[in-house]
Amino acid sequence: MARTVPEGIRITQVGLWYVLLALVTAVAATNTGNNALYMVLAVMLGALLVSGVTSRANVRGLAVELDPPHEVFANTPFSVGLRLHNTGRLAGRWLLLVSLGRQGQPLLVPYLPRRGRSRGQLELLLGARGRHPFPAAHVTSLFPFGLFQKGVRFRNASELVVYPELFGAAPPRRDGASPIGHQTTRRAGWGHDLHALRTFRRGDDPRSIHWKQTARTGELVFMEREAERSRRLAVVFDNGVGDLPDEAARQRFERLVSEAATAAVDALARGYEVQLVTRDRTLPFAAGARQRVAVLEALALIGPVARRPEPLAGGDPRVPELRVAMEPRKLAAPAATGGAA
């Protein structure tokens, strides 16, 4: 984190009382001309100055390094690693409270010796998917006397892509009777499961000879395997919904994005190749971690585009599809359930 911005000063309730008592002493000293009271006032003001200078110095000379997680989902708490370094050569730092974006429970660093380091974790929650500036780290301190709270903000120019919220439930609707997953077709093919045993014919692949049966029967026995269906899923998300008129519609749109993301992530986790089709972008079929990131990023940044009359075409018609769309007739019904396939 490069840029450090002072956050000014905030007087605490104790500080207010302190200032009030100093004022009372000032009035008493001025009214009586009693130099002993002037001495008290001078020491109080001196301590106030010391407090101000010390508290300012206490939050200076710090370096904050953040270690954000690889994936951040909306409405899901995540931990950010924090490394705090006191670059000051002269004095330690006391009573530091570190927070991210002024959210969540701050991290308390009671004492950081000079040139010392401290590590910790900060929990954060971001409510909306999309591209967010990385929250600034705030370091505040009540040190030394709790009269003032001084702070410094460590700005970070980088951005954070927050993925859509994932639902814990099973993926919602799929395309009709099209099964998803490892499905056999009851036909001979080049799959893995055994389909049938038969006599070896000319032209058969000798690698598929069932040697045990061959030894048992005395003639070559060929092992037929079942053909397997393709393990693919196309997630077709129709974001051509035009402007979303109200909050309910926006919430519904967000929910559909989350459903699509949940289904895609679930399918990818089960080894499927997943294709994402939207009005403005199509991600080709792929599996694995990279596709997961690509799908999540695409859905994190997706937004409504202009409504079009033609239906959103999927890809290969042989591949099962998960269609996610907002039905125009349901736009006005905020309590409607999920999307429609």
Binding site: W17, N35, A36, G46, P144
Partner: protein
């Protein structure tokens, strides 16, 4: 240690400390304070043991109601109608009770508020220098309390209410913070606006304590008043003679004159008028040119008298716009000052007669025969005899000095006619007895005379070269009128009874050191006021103008003004008489200004210097190698430079490689250095410098051995 326990202990310690000066200031009686301290001690004991049960709110109310009758008794019986003492007693009681009822967080802050007001009361009624120590102790403890409360508050915010973990290393910081607060308080104290004259509880005037009359300078003087005051070692006057001036051997300060004697009591001479002011703020007693000046600091003495050396010609007070003079020539202020008064006095070489004038008429008060009994008159006639007036008076003075003894013991003496008793029965007394007897005897013989009170002698303080006149130097003597010569002073007290002119003994040095401290304390703390602030500001302003004037000097090449003489002015050579080369005295403002400017620039540079980049470090490495003799063409690649560094200085191969590596990353990889990498860069540069330097030293050490040749 639980939070509640720690807070109770800290508050208890502060409450224990807060009222300690009060009984010394006679604001609170010792028994009451001891009871309070016992209660606080018990509270601390309970807090230490973490007793679970504390006083409920209704218990506080009951105790408050129970205290009411005592408060009434305190006001009307013990306090004799004064409210300050009883209110402080009540505050002590309330705080002690509150300490037993610290349940909520709010209660603790309320108790802290009570402690603060007790502290204010203790400070506001104190005048002794030791309150600085008290103030520092209280400030240190209060800052510690605030720091711990802040820490515990933060921990409580994290849901912790039990052991606070390892203690923070705060002691050093807090000690430093306390000292820094005290140091900062010095300029703040000097600059805080003073809207009225400094208030101090002057000597002899504590609100509740016994009073020590500054006898001798009140309107009426009894015959034993100076004897009482001479028991005191308090300082009455401090004198600082201008450089090079030696005071007369026996300094005598006239404070008041007394003309009417009535049954053992003297009445002060009536006011003759106001002194005329001339030459600005100077009041002249007698026309003449002073030959020496002395600065005087007069301590509060519950009198309007302005003690002046008998050689005084002119007085220059700083605060008063008018001075009165009585018929005996004693000067007084139109009010009774309660603060230390500063004035300057111009003196002649000899005592002057400030009351000179025509000879007193027969009905003059200085010839009043009140108190002159036939026995006194007969003795006066017998002692003084016949002859010139001066000789007769000297005869009487010598008689009293030689035939009578000085004593401070008046046990069993009657009060009907103390002067007759002194002259004929006891033949011993104090200086007032001697002076009074002489005045009455002179008047019996028709010589105008009066009693003079003031001070005699003083001791020299070696710590700052000023003289101290104490209460113990209070004295009474006689002024008699000599036809043709005016009023002259005579002192009939035997030398053994006169005030000691100088301090003696080993303890005197300690006393003088203490007095020096008190002097500074009185002068610069207790009586610091608007006038002193103006003096400081004037000094600073003149210093500023002096520095500014150095920069505003007209340029030598500037055209001459029109009124300049047509003839070419002779420019004296620098070594000509009247032209001084700039010496150290003229240079020091420049040096100070340069130092301040340099420090400011250094500060600005330190704060805003750009962070070290790998490119800068690489260039520094290159320069270092070139300085050591390496020939590095501009086109030398970084890796070749690294190899050259390793070849020439194997000891810096690793740090040089680190610098080159970071340089490549920064310059060609577009990578911004992180903070740890920047530190590595600093460390590598330091290592290179150190390695190259050590290598050079090693080579130098080795070189002479090779070149050394055996002696022929």
């Amino acid at each position: 240690m639980s939070f509640a326990r720690e807070k109770r202990l800290l508050l208890g310690a502060l409450a224990f400390l807060a009222p300690l000066p009060l009984p010394f200031n006679e604001m609170v009686r010792w028994p009451f304070l001891l009871a309070y301290l016992a209660a606080v001690g018990w509270c601390l004991h309970r807090a230490w043991r973490e007793e679970p049960r504390w006083l409920p709110t209704w218990g506080m109310n009951v105790l408050g109601l129970a205290y009411l009758p005592f408060f009434v008794f305190d006001v009307f019986a013990l306090g004799r109608g004064r409210l300050v003492g009883p209110v402080l007693d009540l505050a002590l009681f309330a705080l002690a009770v509150k300490l037993f009822a610290l349940r909520r967080e709010r209660d603790k802050w309320q108790a802290a508020l009570g402690v603060f007001f007790l502290f204010l009361a203790a400070m506001g009624t104190s005048v002794h220098p030791s309150i600085v120590l008290y103030l520092l102790a209280f400030a240190g403890l209060a800052l510690f309390l605030l720091a711990r409360f802040a820490y515990l508050h933060v921990l409580a915010g994290f849901g912790r209410h039990e052991p606070a973990g390892p203690r923070l290393p705060l002691r050093g910081f807090l000690a430093l913070a306390t000292v820094a607060s005290a140091v900062l308080a010095i300029p703040l104290f000097a600059t805080l606006p003073r809207l009225r004259a400094p208030y101090i509880v002057g000597r002899g005037a504590p609100p509740m304590g016994s009073t020590i009359e500054a006898a001798g300078f009140t309107e009426e003087v009894t015959l034993d008043s100076i004897g009482q005051i001479r028991e005191s070692r308090e300082v009455a006057l401090r004198l600082q003679f201008e450089r090079g001036v030696q005071p007369v051997e026996e300094m005598r300060f006239k404070a008041a004159t007394h003309e009417i004697y009535d049954g053992g009591r003297w009445g002060r001479s009536p006011k003759a008028g106001e002194l005329q002011r001339r030459r600005g703020v100077r009041f002249w007693l007698v026309p003449g040119e002073p030959i020496a000046w002395v600065e005087i600091w007069r301590q509060p003495m519950r009198s309007s008298s302005l003690p002046l050396p008998v050689e005084t010609l002119v007085v220059e007070p700083t605060v008063s716009s008018a001075l009165d003079v009585d018929r005996g020539g004693a000067v007084s202020l139109p009010y009774v000052p309660v603060e230390t008064l500063y004035y300057k006095v111009g003196m002649a070489a000899r005592p002057v007669d400030a009351a000179s004038g025509p000879a007193p008429a027969a009905e003059d008060r200085t010839l009043d025969r009140g108190g002159v009994t036939p026995r006194i008159a007969e003795l006066a006639s017998r002692v003084m005899g016949e002859g010139p007036p001066a000789e007769r008076i000297r005869r009487l003075e010598a008689h009293l000095t030689q035939q009578y003894a000085y004593t401070a013991d008046f046990t069993g003496r009657g009060t009907d006619n103390p002067i007759e008793d002194f002259l004929f029965t006891y033949r011993s007394g104090q200086c007032e007895y001697f002076a009074s007897a002489m005045v009455l005897m002179l008047r019996a013989e028709g010589v105008p005379a009066r009693l003079v009170t003031g001070f005699l002698g003083g001791e020299y303080n070696v710590f700052e070269g000023y003289y101290i006149v104490r209460d113990a130097n209070a004295h009474a003597w006689v002024e008699a009128y000599l036809p043709g010569a005016g009023w002259r002073a005579f002192d009939p007290t035997p030398p053994a009874g006169r005030p000691v002119a100088s301090a003696e003994g080993a303890f005197a040095v300690v006393r003088q050191a203490y007095d020096f401290l008190l002097f500074r304390w009185d002068r610069y703390v207790l009586t610091f006021g608007l006038y002193d602030q103006l003096t400081i500001f004037r000094t600073l302003r003149s210093l500023w103008l002096e520095i500014k004037g150095l920069f505003d000097r007209p340029d030598a090449a500037a055209p001459c003004p029109p009124e300049a003489p047509e003839a070419p002015a002779e420019v004296p050579a620098p070594d000509a008489p009247g032209v001084e080369a700039p010496g150290a005295g003229e240079l020091w403002p420049w040096l100070i200004a340069a130092a301040v400017l340099g420090a400011a620039l250094a500060l600005v540079w330190l704060r805003h210097r750009p962070p070290l980049t790998a490119t800068a470090a690489y260039r520094a490495l290159r320069r270092r190698l070139e300085r050591e003799g390496a020939r590095l063409p501009p086109s030398l690649a970084p890796l070749a430079l690294r190899g050259e560094a390793a070849r020439r200085h194997p000891e810096v191969a690793a740090p040089a490689a680190r610098i080159v590596d970071l340089y490549l990353r920064e310059s060609f990889g577009g990578m911004e250095l992180s903070a740890p990498q920047r530190e590595q860069l600093h460390a590598a540069l330091r290592a290179v410098r150190r390695g190259v330097r050590d290598g050079r030293r090693g080579r130098r050490r080795a070189a002479p051995r090779k070149l050394r040749r055996p002696a022929a």
